[in-house]
Amino acid sequence: MQSGARLRAEAATVIDAVISDGRSLDRALAQSEPQVSLADRPMLRMLCYGCIRHHWQLRAELNARLEKPLKKRDRVIESLLTIGIFQLSDTRVPDHAAVSATVEAARVLRRPKLAGLVNGILRNFLRSKTSRELPQSEEVTFNHPQWLIDRIRQDWPDHWQQVLTANNERAPMWLRVNAEHATAAAYQARHAVAGSTMKGLPQALRLESPQPVDALPGFPDGQVSVQDAAAQLAAPWLLSDGGQRVLDACAAPGGKTGHLLELLAGSADLTAIDADAERLGLVRETLARLKFDATLLAADASNAGEWWDGAQFDRILVDAPCSATGVIRRHPDIKLLRRETDIGALAELQRGILESLWPLLKPGGRLLYVTCSVLTAENDGVVGPFIAAHEDAGENRVLHDYNIRDLMTEKAPGFQVLPGKHGLDGFYFACLNKVS
């Protein structure tokens, strides 16, 4: 036998690790997944992602029914209660099953004395879920922390609600078909894959429903990779006018590195760096699967003096570390883990990386600055002042394919893909030329 209660207890542990211990959802899930069977993992993910996506609303429902917060050591039960409320409001699990399995889960979590409380709150929720008025706040309405709502509203006065709504939706699964093998349309036809392609992104294929990577035809031998279509804008943009020596800065886990190599098709030499030696291992794995060779360096992009050999590059991709506020739909835990104070520190780091790498670019060369953030402070707020401060830096607003214009919103000196629009993740791109 397997127990639905056990599965919920595991989900509560994951959510509590994110909320109470500040762990990333990916890491917490990776630790918990071995505790449940292969067949149960989709359900575990569904519960964890759902509860974290709707955190503020679920907490408001809970707090309206909880006389006082639970003791610190019992906080996992608060997470369990949000799982119960989530199931009763958003899933097709029958009510009585959701209640009994959640109550039993309190016992699995070794809090038998709180089983009665769990039962009482969930039954109360069932009785009053439509009648009770919650205190209205933007946090509850949009399921984001207030500081982030304020920032997004300030940066996107015409789009902020659309961004916040898109952040709480599920992201589609996009593939990148290896340009050395086929276009997305040809791959789709050959393997009868249910999905759709998009103008301006010849290698991108949006799957109708997500699939495990191992089930994708040609995945093991590098014919296809998983990558959001917005991220697939970077490599063709950087390489539209060729380039012999290419630097991929902050490369891990290597999605864009692989794409660059697919487009270069062995005609150039590429150096990929990442400050995190362990994550550089992921780049190595990606390249091994795609059967490419590149120079990999564990090196800090913000301190080129430490590792640069003095030979300049024709093209530099700066995929800068950022708040990841453009990919919240894939990583909803960002809403809980990121702090407002992180943004200034990230902008500082991004400025440092640009300053450090600029001397590495040949006169006449091109640098593409990319983030998966939607915040001005990390995007135009970094690149604009940088251009102003460097006489030899100029913005390049020529797009290599007119069709991609429709996917983006102007955010001079660059362009923003807003999350959710055309099914894409939120990315920022600014292309700089070095005046010769």
Binding site: M1, Q2, S3, A5, R6, S37, M43, H96, S100
Partner: protein, 174 residues
């Protein structure tokens, strides 16, 4: 120790009625160890011999999070049932599906332990549900039998389809 293959619904072998265990010996002990290993690895909280294609009346269970409360029930017979409890059951032979099933809240069971001694004990909570679920297996019964015909057929079809995919994936990978 070895991990055993678990039969999956709608395999007809899951419908065989198990026969009583005649002798509690070393060979049975080995089989019990293998069943624990199989159950812990899955992971599950109970496993009946029927599920590993052994059609003799015994089962293993452990509902503790720490995997340190193993139970072995040989030739189990339910003597008394008390109360009603609905809980969400899943089954290693019906992977990925959970449904509400109504069971007795408490059961009193006579069985032999792994030393062959005859014992009587009362069980409640998750362990009581689990033991009833596993004894059903020994009688060729599955938790999906408590669901509506339509629901059972839906699960049957999806599982057959998933299994076909799994085989195809393996072929594709090679």
């Amino acid at each position: 120790m070895a991990k055993l293959k678990i039969l999956e619904f709608p395999d007809p072998r899951l419908r065989k009625k198990a026969v009583p265990v005649e002798k509690v010996d070393a060979a049975l002990g080995t089989l019990i160890d293998d069943m624990f290993e199989t159950m812990y690895a899955a992971p599950g909280i109970g496993l009946a011999a029927t599920q590993v294609d052994v059609h003799r009346r015994f089962l293993v269970a452990d509902v503790s999070s720490e995997k340190n409360e193993p139970w072995v029930l040989i030739n189990p017979v339910i003597l008394e049932r008390d109360g009603v409890e609905v809980s969400e059951e899943g089954c290693l032979s019906v992977p990925g599906y959970y449904e509400s099933v109504e069971r007795a809240e408490q059961v009193r069971v006579r069985f032999q332990n792994r030393d062959g001694e005859e014992v009587e004990a009362s069980f409640d909570g998750l362990l009581a549900v689990c033991i009833q679920h596993e004894i059903d297996h020994l009688d060729g019964k599955l938790f999906v039998d408590y669901l509506s015909e339509a629901k059972r057929q839906r699960i049957r079809k999806r599982l057959l389809k998933d299994r076909k995919h799994r085989v195809e994936d393996r072929v594709a990978a090679v």
